[in-house]
């Protein structure tokens, strides 16, 4: 509900600003007092011409999801899946169709490569030190279980095509805002690289299983996975495929610099807020602290991938 109120207020503010910007005339720099003109016949400064352009720049991605546990466990490597961020690239084409000198529509298609990651060095898993306790019936190997610090890293890479239909509103001079819906269509798999690495160099403890379920004494385990799942090598009870398409709202601000009679460059900053989740809810059992703490059932939900785009547009009037 709050999202809708915020969006409505934003659009109303932009439209009001656009109307107020129309008042100036050759006699009155600030317009006629009390007169808000409806200028339907706009024709000026190339603003009445259609524009075809290209753009390119950086895409700062923000990933977040909710991890809900039935019992709390501290220091679990699974917590690295709560949030991630990172830079990618975006290139695209756009078509700008003005309806007036201060309002128009911009249609844009982009190819995006998004990379975002998260890493934690404060994680811990329970590990055994073999044969240091007296052997008895309950501990025939004489093992000691101790907390072992590990570094956990996850890094996503995904390619997509995004299509946006935006309203472009000139606020003042060459400063403009864009706002409108955006759709992101996944191209190929989302690949997540997982890595858990033992931090301390002593050899008394180790990671005892790899991502293939093979027991051993590992300093580092890693994998690439193309479904949404937990990060620990065992314990997943469900996975989720990534959404093929997501939908959201984009709002941005840009400034137009004329570089000739038929061209301009326009730096843009815009935020893409996606209403669709990146993947559906899935679950796992977190056994990283099952001996010293407890086993926890984890539900992963609300996986969101939003982005801040910083691009340079080059437009050509025609």
């Amino acid at each position: 509900m709050k999202k809708h109120i915020l969006m409505t207020a934003t659009v109303l503010t932009l439209v009001a600003g656009s109307l107020l910007a129309q008042n100036e005339d050759v006699l009155r720099p600030n317009g006629k007092p009390g007169d808000v003109q409806q200028n339907n016949k706009r024709s000026s400064s190339n603003r009445d011409k259609m524009v075809l352009g290209v753009e390119g720049g950086g895409l700062l991605s923000f990933f977040s999801q909710t991890l809900e546990r039935d019992v709390q466990v501290t220091g679990s490597p699974e917590d690295v899946l709560k949030s991630a961020s990172g830079w990618g690239t975006s290139y695209g084409l756009f078509l700008d169709i003005p309806l007036s000198s201060s309002f128009g529509f911009q249609f844009r298609g982009n190819y995006n490569r998004q990379s975002f990651s998260s890493s934690s060095t404060a994680d811990t898993i329970d590990a055994s030190i073999v044969g240091i306790r007296p052997r008895d019936r309950e501990n025939p190997q004489g093992d000691e279980v101790v907390p072992m610090p590990v570094q956990t890293s996850v890094a996503w890479t995904t390619n997509s095509i995004s299509i946006a239909a935006l309203a472009r509103i000139v606020i003042v001079d060459e400063l403009f805002l864009t706002v409108g819906p955006i759709a992101s269509i996944r191209m190929g798999d989302v690949v997540r690289h997982d890595e858990i690495k033992k931090i301390e160099t002593d050899t008394s403890t180790w990671i005892s299983i790899d991502y293939n379920g093979i027991a051993g004494r590992y300093q580092t385990i890693s994998r690439d996975v193309s479904v949404a799942t937990n990060v620990l090598p065992r314990g997943a009870i469900s996975t989720s495929t990534y959404a093929a398409a997501r939908f959201g709202l984009e709002a941005g601000i840009g400034y137009c610099w004329r570089v000739g009679p038929t061209a301009y460059i326009a730096p843009n900053v815009r935020y893409q807020y996606m209403f669709s989740n990146m993947n559906e809810t899935y679950q796992s059992t977190d056994e990283s602290r099952s001996i010293l703490q407890r086993t926890s059932n984890v539900t992963y939900s609300n996986a969101m991938l939003n982005a801040l785009a910083i691009v340079l547009q080059v437009g050509f009037y025609f």
Binding site: D25, V26, L27, P29, K41, S44, S45, R258
Partner: protein, 489 residues
């Protein structure tokens, strides 16, 4: 009730003041129920342009003064008016060059309201140009031009000003407009608007809503020298009132002034004040028709005015393509050359002395251009000291025109013919006139033009063009003429 009394008192006071100064304020014809403002006269007041939003958007209109009054306003055709708002124009005296303000014009701009120029060609304003050197990303509007078209003042609310809108000045170098600077002395923390530079180039009218006025915008008058305005005074009642008054324009050599006033219905209308309480200094208005010397058909031609005392070109103008008419404003007490040129014709140059006594007069001076194909002669405006054959420096602009003509017409062959006055012997004058003709030929040949295209002959005192023996007549007879021998066609 009190406000009624106050209004009645104010009206009575204004009426009394007007009567005391005997200044009549009358509306100019064809005001509409919308804004009609910024009346800009040209062609010595016979044609005016003004701004009106009678069609919904501010556009430029023109109307002519006829024997029966003002003609119906015509919206200026062509691309000038292709914008959301266009107006507050100013024109050179010849009516061939216009500067105006456009908000969201179809010709690309620098920001908000911008300054533009347009040139009249074949009866229409074309070549719309954004005056990028003057415009900012802020509001730039309300331009005014000096009579010679070489000084422009305008209003801007750009940063760095004294406050709100300020008046800026730029000068034309012959190639480009200088970076605009604030006019010192006029700008205040309030809004200064609607500068109008009178035909004398010194009297500046502007409007301001500064404290101490009658109310709203009032008209002020100042003396302008360079970028400095001094002796600033309000024009007073009955022109300034509680309402807005702007765009005060003095008609040259006349007791009339136009201005704009906000009316009770809330729109702006154009008015005339008679007599003008602050007229500009009288000038000499020169006008005429440029035409073919044989067919008498009028046509457009490039013209330039040079102050011979300084050698500086002071104005470039253009006679109208359709009517051949030209208009120029000159300052009395100086000597000028007026030159007119057109492709296919021998250029025409004429020395024109404007005596101080000519102040306030209008002079008719038609110019006949000789077709190159006619084989006729035209006088060259070259100068020699008495009894000498060395060219004086003030001859150089004319000789450069000869060089240009020869370069543009590569098959043209001409003969320079020297003539003297009636003083001295025939033999001496024959030799002197020959030397003078050869001096012209040698100068032109030195510019790299093939010497075979020139001949030089002296005729002594045999062919006077003025038969009298006065000094003026003798001066006219001491001359070098250029005769077309062959066009090569």
């Amino acid at each position: 009730m009190n406000s009624l009394r106050l209004s009645a008192f104010l009206m009575f006071f204004v009426a009394c003041t007007a009567f005391a100064q005997n200044i009549r304020i009358v509306p100019v014809d064809h005001n509409s129920s919308n804004d009609d403002f910024a009346l800009a006269p040209t062609n010595h007041g016979r044609l005016v342009y003004f701004t009106s939003n009678r069609s919904g958007e501010q556009q430029i209109y023109s109307m002519e003064r006829t024997s029966t009054g003002w003609s119906e306003p015509d919206k200026v055709s062509g691309k000038v008016n292709s914008a959301t708002h266009v107006g507050t124009c100013a024109l050179t005296t010849d009516g061939q060059f216009m500067v105006f303000a456009g908000y969201e014009h179809s010709v690309d701009g620098a920001g908000r309201t911008d300054l533009y120029s347009a040139t009249r060609e074949n009866g229409k304003f074309k070549t719309i140009t954004n005056l990028a050197a003057l415009n900012s990303s802020f509001y730039d509007s309300q331009p005014t031009l000096s009579a010679d078209g070489r000084t422009m003042l305008f209003v801007s609310d750009r940063t760095g000003g004294a406050g709100k809108t300020d008046i800026y000045l730029s000068t034309w170098s012959g190639k480009e407009w200088s970076a605009p600077k604030q006019v010192t002395g006029v700008n205040s923390a309030s809004s200064e608007m609607s500068p109008v530079l009178a035909s004398d180039g010194r009297t500046l009218y502007f409007a301001s809503d500064r404290q101490g006025g009658k109310g709203g915008f009032d008209v002020y008058v100042a003396k302008l020298a360079g970028y400095d305005a001094t002796n600033i005074r309000p024009v007073g009642e009955p022109i300034n009132t509680l309402a807005d008054e702007l765009f005060y324009t003095s008609i040259p050599n006349s007791d009339q002034a136009y201005f704009t006033r906000a009316t009770a219905s809330g729109d702006y209308d154009k008015f005339m004040a008679v007599p003008n309480p602050f007229p500009s200094d009288p000038v000499v208005l020169v006008e005429g028709i440029v035409r073919d010397s044989i067919t008498r058909a009028p046509f457009g031609s490039a013209m330039s005015i040079t102050d011979l005392s300084t050698g500086k070109s002071i104005a470039t103008l253009h006679s109208d393509d359709e009517t051949g008419r030209y208009y120029v404003t000159l300052v009395p007490g100086r000597v000028y050359s007026i030159t007119s040129s057109r492709n296919g014709y021998m250029f025409h140059s004429e020395r024109y002395e404007v005596p101080p006594s000519a102040k306030g007069s209008t002079v008719q001076k038609d110019i006949d251009l000789i077709p190159l194909s006619s084989g006729k002669t035209g006088s060259l405006l070259v100068f020699f000291d008495n009894d000498k054959s060395e060219l004086k420096p003030e001859s150089m602009p004319e000789l450069e025109r000869v060089i240009e003509l020869m370069r543009e017409n590569v098959s043209l062959k001409v003969r320079f013919e020297g003539h003297t006055d009636d003083k001295g012997s025939d033999d001496y004058n024959l030799k002197l006139s020959q030397r003078r003709a050869e001096a012209v030929r040698d100068y032109v040949t030195a510019a790299g033009i093939d010497s075979s295209r020139f001949e030089a002959s002296g005729f002594g005192k045999k062919n006077p063009i003025a038969s009298a023996t006065t000094e003026d007549a003798r001066a006219m007879n001491r001359r070098v003429e250029m005769r077309i021998i062959s066009t090569g066609k």
